[in-house]
Each structure stands twice: as structure tokens, then as C-alpha cells.
Symmetry: C2
Subunit: 426 residues, 2 copies
């Protein structure tokens, strides 16, 4: 079997005005769709970061992919990511670009596994060691946000129930009460059984109050997490951490860097989780040495694919780390890739993050996937279990072309509503 | 697809009187052959350690395997090896028994992958990330030995050319000159391009002299290794290591334990390799912390299968360790399992060990596999690419029954020719 075609389609999808420590989400989030075709007529899908750099890098990778057997993943990986006997590449920005060859390889690996799944009649999870679970748990992912649903705000609502849009999608949530209401929507509409709050936006005590308000609203059984995206100082992280000890399931990236995280770990009796302190294979040795984390948020887009994520999970087990999963704004191809690999990781000890409820548009046939009691189900459907809706893809590609965004820039977006805004360190 | 039958056959094969720090190989080496059958008529093979304990453990595992889908490896592993979210099991003897559930799982995983390979028409290497290489390099594995070929010594020679038996198999090799002659045979007959000497037998200076004699005989390009099986003191290891610096490719397990290995590493400018200091997932953190090794000798029998070995190789890359491969006395099923996983590991940075040239008997159809210029070739044959020779299996099983050996006991065997012999620490 040989890969004979590699199609790369940049898309833009409506994204609500969500806030984070980086600023404000633009009206459109960018993604890149990869489709491989083989000489025997099979196709495979992958999805990754969007914008000009991923696009350029994937275009550059094409000639290394065409002609390869999709089963020969180690060869394809080496063709893209370079000498596999060398130390892991350290020159990798934390996220959002594919200037790392490891990240360029990821959607190609996913598309190859989709092809292999179709060729063998097996779901992708079964190619990764097998389905350990069929129901993959996801967490509610809450954001402080401004009013509005992103895109043109006149977005056709074919793909979303008006009730949902009237609820969490359109409504402002810039207070503890607003977040509690958003959480109630997420739990009611999707059945999530754990809640993550994107922090680093309001003054830290107000974010702690938001967590405590959710504890009050949902009772002691609901796992709660907060993620200030590293913008709290060590002192703030320790102070808020001590306040929230006994309340948080885990404490995600309160502060920046391995040394600071290790210092917080020494003082706060809550497991520390990360997708920012430890974001590449080359970060592992120092993370281990410093005792900087307790839980790694895996991300197949960032770590080079699904098989690498399975390997990463075993490494986590060896060092006594829990495993959870990070998310960026994404479409259904990524959702299913995340779900398949999560199904195959026995030591997935926490529900996965996902931005998926914040996206109203799709490129996959049948429209948006539904969560069942907070879970994505993996059944016997071969491959990832998704196919492209070519009309939808064309529409989101046209939207990409018109949006004129080359990369994510949350600071610039924030400055549009608050001139001169700069990220704050609390 | 469901597993409907699990056949477990203990076998004994003739083994020459090879010496190591543990004593003397008995006339027969023990192995266990595992065969799984599915409801759609596919069969898969695995091979592992022999003797009473592996047999008992595999019999005990049977009820956890029957009824499972061979693709659902994570579920089968959990059914045998227990909670996959718990820390890796530390209660594991270094080798030779399956009282570790991790080791019990290994031949079952290999047999499942053999089945999956046959079901998909793909070699096992392609199920492990894909063939990075088609030619898997092995190393000559030399032993100090007494005269004789093991077994009854009247062994039918259908499976071995008289010339070979007259050469290295039957001949005594208890001196540097004897080992050089053995090495010449191995290089001439099998085409090996690197040489490992099992040490820990003669006085250390005499073993160093053996290495230097090989350097003299084969010139500066032939990679050489020595493995004293941990019986040298730190002082001896450093003294001999400094003498052999510039001569050895790597220095395998000169001394015992992570602290001692780390001390040797601080003084000797040769990469330290191990299959004794670090033999389980639970050994990794301390190995990393102490800086005890530079190269890990993987072994799918010991680490829980082929997928785990692929994961281990990535962990080695993360910590800057080279990857080589350990061997016990084995038959063709293990040879091919070793070759398939080695083919799928890009960072296999050294030729693999194998005892295979020391075994004259086989259980696979077609008799013993041939090395091509020191390599085992992985082609497109589905699965492991081997089938049972039922007559040969019955004969080696009968040999097991008659041999009356329940476990390997090299000390007792040595005492038969040297009463009162005990392992020596130099």
C-alpha cells in the first residue's frame, strides 16, 4: 500500500470570545485538515494546528510522505522528524506552530492510522494496544468570556440548537456566578462529570472564589480543576493553592517553569498538572529531576502522534505521574483522535480536556459528535470513525481565506477591546 | 475475533556446556511454547522462559486469556498483570521465572500480535510502528565453554552441519586463544559484525586478555563487548575498564547494582550497558537518578512483550541511553519476535545479542533460521513468519519430560564437574 496523495486544507471556524491569560480568542480559530489517499483507494484524516506556519511545514513534508507505505510509520516519522537515534529536538515553541517537525508528523501519523484502521476493519484504538475502555471521559472546560458566539455572530445555526446558543455559548461569564451558570449548562447539556476552569484572567482571589462557588453549587463529589496558564507567581500559586487544597482535583500550570512548579509542589498538597512546563520529550529529564509535576496533560498534536502518546503514558506510569489530556480549539477529527488514543491508555487517570463544546461548526459528515454522559464512545467503526463533509470543509476553508488570520494572536485580539492590554503576572 | 484455545508446551533443547558467572549450562535448556487459537481459525505463537514456574503461571493465566479479542491487548495485559494505573510491580526476580505477571503476559502478547499479523497480512514489525529496517543486526555471542555439544552428546545431527559441530559447538574454549577461534567460526559461519564475550568466568585479567586477543585478531573495526554478569567489584571493574577503554564498544554489567554501576561510570570512559541493573519499569527512576547506565539491553520476555519494548526504547531515547537487546537460550519463535521488535525500533543503536547459534534443535517448520551476514531479515510474511513443526515440538516436549529439570540451576551443574563450586566475586 502506498500513499499517493496528501491534501492539506487550512480552515477557520467560529470561536466565541473566550478569555485566557494570553488575551482573547479571535472570532475564528484556525485548524489544518490533512487527508491522505492510498493507491488502493483508502483515505485517512488528520487535524492539527492552523495558520501559515503549520500549513507551510505540512506542504514541505508532502514530498516525504508521498510514496510511503502508511504502515511504515517509523520510516515516515524519520523522514519528517529526522534522525530517531538523536536526542529529542529541544527547539520547539510551546504550542501553536508546527515549526517543530514532531508536530508536523502528528496529523500524518493520525491519517495513516485512520487508513490502517479502514484496511483492517478496526478502530484506531485497537491499533494502539487495543481499547482499554469504550467510553472516554471528557471534562467540562469553562472559560471566562465576553458575550457573543464568535464568527460573524450571524452564524447560521444549522449545527447548533438555539437553546444551547442562548445558554453558555452567547452569554457573558466574567464572574463566579457567570461561571457557575456556564458550568450548570455544560453539566446539563453534555453530562460532564468533572470541571476545568481556564484561569489567569481575573484577579487570583476572584478565580479562587469561582472555584469555591462551583464547589458550593456542585457539592463535594464534582472534581474541579483550575489552569492559570503559568501567570501566577510562586507566592500567589502557593497562597491560592493552600486555599484550594481539598477542593481541587488537580492544579494545572499555576506558575511557569520547572523550578517554580517544583517549588509550588513542595508547599501545596494538590497534584500539579502541566501542559506548559513539560511539552516535549526533551523536557522529561529535568522534569523528573526537579520533581516538578504529578500529572502530565498529554496532547498528540504536540507530542508527535497517537503512538508517541501511548509511549508517553507508559513513561508517566514509570515516574508515578497521572495522565490527563490537553486541548486546543478543535474539530471532530481531533476529537476522535483524542478519544481513540485515550481509549487505548489504561492509565488515563483523569477525564480529558476538550474545547469541542465551544465550536459550533464542523468538517465531518453528520455534524458535531455528541457526548454521552460526558463521554465519547469508541465502537467497532474502522479507523477514526469520521468522514469529511466536503461542503462543510469548503465553507470553512473559504472562511479561512476571508478571515485573513495567519496565526493565533490573543493579545492583539484583546487590545481591540482594551487598547494597550498586555498579559498580567499576578 | 476471540481466543478459544491456549496451548502451553514445555520443551527442553540440547544446550552446550557454556560457562558464565552463574556456573555451567545444563545439557538441556528449558523453554515454554505458547500457541493461541481464535474462533476464526487463526493461530499465534509465543515463546518464553522454561521450567515449572513459568508453566504454572501460564496455566494460571489461561482462563484470563480465553474469550478475549487478541486486538484488545491492554485488556489482556490488565487481566494478567493487574491494575495498569498502579506503579509498576517491584517484586520481580531478575530473570528465569514468570512469577512476575509482566513476564507471563509477554508470550501471550507475542502470540496475539502473530494472530493480528496473520489477520491483516502484515509482519509483526508493522504492528509495532512499522519496519524501520528490514535487516536486523545480531552480534556473535561467545562463551568460555567445555568440550561437548550438550543434550545426550549423541544428538542426531539432522539439524546441523557436521562442520559446524566440529567447529565451535563441540570444541572447548577456556582460553583467549580458544575464544578467538570460536569468534572466527562465528564470523565465518554467520557473518556477525560485532562480538560479545560472556565474562565473569576466568580471572578478570585473563578475560581482558581475551578481549585484547580478539582486537588483535579482528582489527580495530570490529565492535567488542564483555559481560561479566555483575561479579566484578567496583575496583576490578574500574581497573579492567580503564585497561579496555578504547577497545570495548560497551561494557555490560561489570558490577552489581545501580550505585556500583554509577561509580564505575564515573571512572571508566566506556558506555555501560545493562540487563541486570535495570530489569523492570520500577528500576527506571533510580537508574535515571544515579546515572547508572548508558545503554539498556531490552528483552521482550522480561519487560512484558513487544509493544512494551517499543515504549521502553522511546524512554531510552528520552534519557539519552542507547538500545541493545539481551538474550537467553531460545528457539526460533523468540528469535523472530526479537527481530520483529528490533526492526520497529529506530533507535536500536547496537546489534542484538542472541544465543541462537548455540542451539541445534528447533520447533519451527523448516528448521533453524539462517543469519544473512549477521542479520535476520524481516520480509512481508504475515505475523512472526514462523509455524510449528509438530513433530519437532513433540520431540522437544518428550525431551523436557525426560530431562527432569524444573528450573535452570547453573551452580548445581557446575558442581557436578567441580564439587563445592560457588560463584566467585573478583
Amino acid at each position: 500500500m502506498k500513499i499517493v496523495e496528501m491534501r492539506i486544507v487550512p480552515v477557520a471556524m467560529a470561536d466565541p470570545p473566550l478569555r485566557s491569560a494570553f488575551g482573547l480568542h479571535a472570532p475564528y480559530a484556525l485548524r489544518t485538515i490533512v487527508q491522505l489517499k492510498t493507491d488502493d483507494g483508502l483515505t485517512g484524516l488528520g487535524e492539527t494546528y492552523g495558520g501559515a506556519i503549520p500549513l507551510r511545514d505540512l506542504e514541505a513534508a508532502r514530498e516525504r510522505v508521498i510514496g510511503q507505505d502508511p504502515w511504515h510509520l517509523t520510516r515516515i516519522e524519520a523522514a519528517i522528524a529526522g534522525d530517531p537515534t538523536a536526542a529529542p529536538n529541544k527547539d520547539r515553541p510551546w504550542e501553536g506552530t508546527l515549526s517543530s517537525p514532531v508536530q508536523s508528523y502528528s496529523p500524518i501519523e493520525v491519517a495513516c492510522l485512520d487508513i490502517i484502521g479502514k484496511a483492517t476493519g478496526r478502530p484506531v484504538a485497537d491499533l494502539l494496544g487495543g481499547r482499554y475502555r469504550s467510553a472516554v471521559p471528557f471534562s467540562a472546560y469553562l472559560f471566562y468570556k465576553h458575550a457573543g458566539i464568535g464568527g460573524t455572530d450571524g452564524l447560521a445555526d444549522a449545527s447548533i440548537a438555539a437553546r444551547e446558543r442562548d445558554d453558555y455559548l452567547a452569554r457573558e461569564a466574567l464572574s463566579p456566578e457567570g461561571i457557575v451558570r456556564q458550568a450548570e449548562d455544560f453539566v446539563r447539556l453534555f453530562g460532564f462529570k468533572s470541571i476545568k476552569l481556564k484561569g489567569g484572567v481575573l484577579e487570583p482571589d476572584r478565580e479562587a472564589a469561582t472555584i469555591l462557588a462551583m464547589r458550593e453549587a456542585f457539592g463535594p463529589e464534582m472534581p474541579l480543576r483550575i489552569d492559570p496558564n503559568c501567570v501566577w507567581s510562586v507566592e500567589t500559586s502557593i497562597r491560592i493553592g493552600l486555599e484550594l487544597a481539598g477542593t481541587l482535583e488537580y492544579y494545572e500550570d499555576p506558575t511557569d517553569g520547572k523550578a517554580n512548579m517544583a517549588e509550588v509542589a513542595r508547599h501545596v498538597p494538590i497534584p500539579l498538572a502541566t501542559n506548559m512546563c513539560t511539552t516535549s520529550w526533551s523536557d522529561i529529564p529535568e522534569t523528573v529531576e526537579r520533581g516538578a509535576i504529578h500529572i502530565l496533560l498529554s496532547d498528540h498534536h504536540l507530542w508527535g502522534g497517537l503512538m508517541p502518546t501511548v509511549k508517553l503514558a507508559q513513561l508517566c506510569r514509570v515516574f508515578g505521574w497521572g495522565v490527563s489530556m490537553h486541548s486546543n480549539s478543535h474539530l471532530g477529527i481531533s476529537l476522535m483522535a483524542m478519544a481513540h488514543v485515550a481509549a487505548a491508555i489504561p492509565n488515563l487517570t483523569y477525564a480529558c480536556d476538550t474545547h469541542y463544546p465551544w465550536q459550533v461548526e464542523e468538517v465531518i459528515a453528520g455534524g458535531k459528535r455528541r457526548f454521552e454522559e460526558g463521554h465519547i464512545m469508541i465502537d467497532d467503526t474502522p479507523g477514526l470513525g469520521v468522514e469529511l463533509d466536503e461542503d462543510a470543509l469548503a465553507r470553512l476553508h473559504e472562511q479561512y481565506r476571508k478571515a485573513g488570520l495567519a496565526k493565533r494572536d490573543d493579545v492583539a485580539e484583546m487590545q481591540k477591546i482594551q487598547p494597550g492590554w498586555q498579559p498580567v503576572r499576578w
